[in-house]
Symmetry: C2
């Protein structure tokens, strides 16, 4: 699948512009390899460690690009988002770097460690009820009262462009990779990664890794339209969002397949990341490795020739208590 002429919300140019805009603020994350994990998987694996990104996840790239894209007048009014996850902390940190206010709407049931990150980075926490409706309404109220710019976690060209900078780095660090496996949730990460990677190397394969209990992307690809789910059920708390209008066309056209894995596979992969790679990942961050190790990937003849595989370890923000409880099950 190649990048066609259709106008997406981002493209290689906007991704290169993003890189120029954010490169002095972000970490260029290391690419790690492990002969032990190569032996276990039967492939050569290259781990792009976005868990080492500032804020503990790739989200800082997009947040940084969005915030430094604002003109001074807009920026002076601050930014707002509703998120219980890594985007919230990333936006707070990027706003702090620009010296502007960030209003972060967080549902009351959000994990403690993610709230702490927002507070540590100077974000103004505004609590909402746990429903999506309450979160959106609270954000809209803040936006109306303050004039702050809403920065959506993924359904935004600036965010997609920022996340796409990962591919630019990855293909410089390992130009020979033939496949990239990317966690999928709302699709901001994989949209940016696929756009950049396939523009540079149309032959490269981009595969999504998705939890079985939140498999809206797999269902959407199968149906040829955005499918949302009445509920989700997965240990990967960062992968519960659904595709949006800007990410769907990119996922539809450029993502070669969606590999779904269950909680057991995710936790096993997370444990391998700790014990062999020595990298602290959150469940969502380990799902790419889970996909490579899954039977559905290993036995699929279509992926038999995927030998040099980039895996994006997307984030590392996890309460150690929660981690332990998943390992103990």
């Amino acid at each position: 699948m190649e990048v066609n002429k259709e106008k997406y919300a981002a493209d290689l140019s906007s991704i290169k512009e993003a890189r120029a805009r954010i490169s002095s603020f972000i970490h260029k994350t290391p690419l790690m390899t492990s002969e032990s994990l190569d032996a276990i998987s039967g492939r050569r694996l290259f781990f792009k460690c976005e868990c080492f990104q500032k804020g503990g996840a790739f989200k800082f790239r997009g947040a940084c690009n969005a915030i430094f894209s604002l003109d001074d007048q807009q920026a002076a009014k601050g930014v707002v988002t509703h998120s219980s996850g890594n985007h919230a902390a990333a936006l707070a940190l990027a706003a702090k770097l620009r010296g502007i206010t960030s209003y972060i709407v967080i549902p009351k049931n959000a994990p403690q460690c993610k709230v702490q990150h927002v507070v540590r980075y100077g974000g103004q926490v505004i609590w909402s009820e746990t429903t999506i409706k309450s979160r959106e309404e609270t954000a809209t109220t803040v936006q109306q009262e303050t004039g702050a710019a809403l920065i959506h976690p993924y359904n935004d060209g600036r965010i997609i462009s920022g996340q796409g900078t990962i591919s630019l780095e990855l293909l410089e660090q390992a130009p020979h990779i033939d496949t990239i496996i990317v966690p999928i949730s709302g699709g901001g990460l994989i949209s940016g990664v696929a756009l950049a990677a396939k523009s540079i190397n149309p032959a490269i394969r981009v595969l999504a890794a998705e939890p079985k209990g939140a498999n809206d992307a797999a269902q959407s690809k199968a149906a040829g339209r955005i499918v949302t789910l009445p509920e989700t059920n997965t240990v990967a708390d960062g992968l519960r969002a659904f595709l949006g209008e800007f990410t769907w066309p990119i996922v539809r056209d450029l993502v070669d397949d969606v590999i779904t894995v269950d909680n057991t596979e995710i936790i096993k992969a997370m444990r391998l990341c700790y014990e062999i790679l020595k990298v602290a990942v959150e469940p969502s961050g380990a799902i790419g490795l889970a996909a490579v190790l899954s039977d559905s990937f290993r036995t699929n003849p279509a992926w038999k020739d995927c030998n040099q595989i980039g895996i994006i370890l997307s984030g590392g923000n996890v309460d150690l208590e929660v981690l332990w409880n998943s390992f103990s099950k």
Copy 2:
């Protein structure tokens, strides 16, 4: 303290030779920074992530140098060591790379994960009783029966030279650092690091980080001679060895001070490594950060000007169960 003319068991030349010998086998480990940890410590910190080294610890550098220093005739008879720790796995892995046999004498009470590493890397495990005497006698028996070369974990110039390659990398990655903080146990790591670093930059300070419950190096420095302890008591299972005849003169002359920390400080630092750096370290690996955060370091006027500090995260091999038990206390 500068490198004087006395002949130590290693020097900058032997360390550079080691680098040439092992560079195609080892990982050049990344140097990581964290603004959050800089803010907490009040210094600029550069983490040399040897937990990402093959075998999960810096030990692979020395083991590799020792094994590839052997002539073919010696090598054909294999190598032997007695160790329950990271040196054992490192030696097994290096022997595997050279295609020779490694005999690893392991006491019956060794941590399960460390035994697994030895087995995974193809080492031949030979069980001994838990006393040092039994371990040494068993190793001697193996040596006599097989003709294998004994490779001591630290009291060996080849090992010291191999560990010293860390400084060559570190000072290329961050030439401006003014201080290096290094875990100390038998002294192989800090001897190599200090020899290389002070040969390149005589003004650089090298500080040892040592558990309060195994503070033989601090006591040795104070007494001006090797002091051993009747027993040790620390969560840092990799830091229970005592200085040897080859490491002591280097530690005596080139290590500027020994900072001791207790279990609580080590566990707190380990937790920060997981939660902020996203790096899975073992207790021994986190002790350099514990030292930087300790009151005895912060309030000592001698270290007031240590502003750009390299910290060696020496290893990451820990049973997750053990880890959790320490966090829960």
